[in-house]
């Protein structure tokens, strides 16, 4: 156990990122896949904040990237859930195998 620094935060964000990737690969339900995407976006945000604090402490660029990613994630989640609910209305299922009729 040592004093936490940049490497520790990078370890956490790597673990979160690959947890999200694993969830995205193994899940077949659209809502749980959306949750995995949220985990991936959070790990990226954590990376931006950690680099901003430990490498460029005088600047605020990483902070603004994080703010904009959070805003885009909110918009993306809202649109994705609208699509999922519409898909459920038409096919009574949100399994990703049924989502292929989206292309017609």
């Amino acid at each position: 156990m040592m004093e936490p620094g940049l490497y520790h935060i990078l370890f956490i964000s790597t673990a979160l990122f690959f947890t999200g990737v694993l969830g995205f690969l193994t899940r077949r339900n659209l809502i749980t896949m959306l949750m995995s995407i949220e985990l991936i976006l959070n790990s990226v945000n954590l990376n931006f904040i950690a680099f901003n604090k430990y490498i460029w402490p005088g600047r605020m660029d990483g902070l603004f990237f994080t703010l904009f990613i959070i805003a885009i994630a909110a918009a993306e989640a809202a649109v994705a859930i609208a699509i999922i609910i519409n898909l459920y209305r038409s096919s009574q299922s949100i399994d990703v195998n049924n989502a292929e009729d989206l292309k017609y």
């Binding site: 156990m1 004093e3 936490p4 940049l6 490497y7 520790h8 935060i9 370890f11 956490i12 790597t14 673990a15 979160l16 690959f18 947890t19 999200g20 990737v21 694993l22 969830g23 690969l25 193994t26 899940r27 077949r28 339900n29 809502i31 959306l34 949750m35 949220e38 985990l39 959070n42 945000n45 954590l46 950690a50 604090k53 430990y54 490498i55 402490p57 005088g58 605020m60 902070l63 603004f64 994080t66 703010l67 904009f68 959070i70 805003a71 885009i72 994630a73 909110a74 918009a75 989640a77 809202a78 649109v79 859930i81 609208a82 699509i83 999922i84 609910i85 519409n86 459920y88 038409s90």
Partner: protein
Amino acid sequence: MMNGSTILFYLLAALTVSCGVLSISTRHIFRAAIYLLFSLIGVAGLYFWLAYEFIAAVQIVVYVGGIVVLIIFSIFLTQQAGEKLPRQRLDRKIWATLATFCGFALTLLQVWQHEFPPVIPQAPVTVRGIGEKMMSTEAGGYALPFEIISMLLLAAMVGCIVIALRSKPETK
């Protein structure tokens, strides 16, 4: 050697990673949403630990208060209560786990081999500084991205309404 700040960091890290893993491995979709909620709270705690209070507040308001509530509502609208998710094929699970583990190991190897420059301590970021930078139109200011994000949010809102209303005239 182990002061309070260090202990707090390890507790937050354990909360974040373990709840993230549970959120993708549980077969109850509602529990997955709750584990995701705690994982996002853990990330907000890490932002507090790094002394970025504004980002932590935004994280709690937008993710915990907005996105997770939206996900829970969509679970209520689309899933039968108490029904478990179907089990996945074992070979697919094994290959996915192997691939993600290799990616994880490769990334960590790269991170540990890289020497980062030493940290120069600076004054913490204030909310006043964030506001001034966001509205600044000079070089390095973020006024234009801010406006573009507001247009994006408007477009997403209109898009959601259009998508959600599309099937209404057909049912009448």
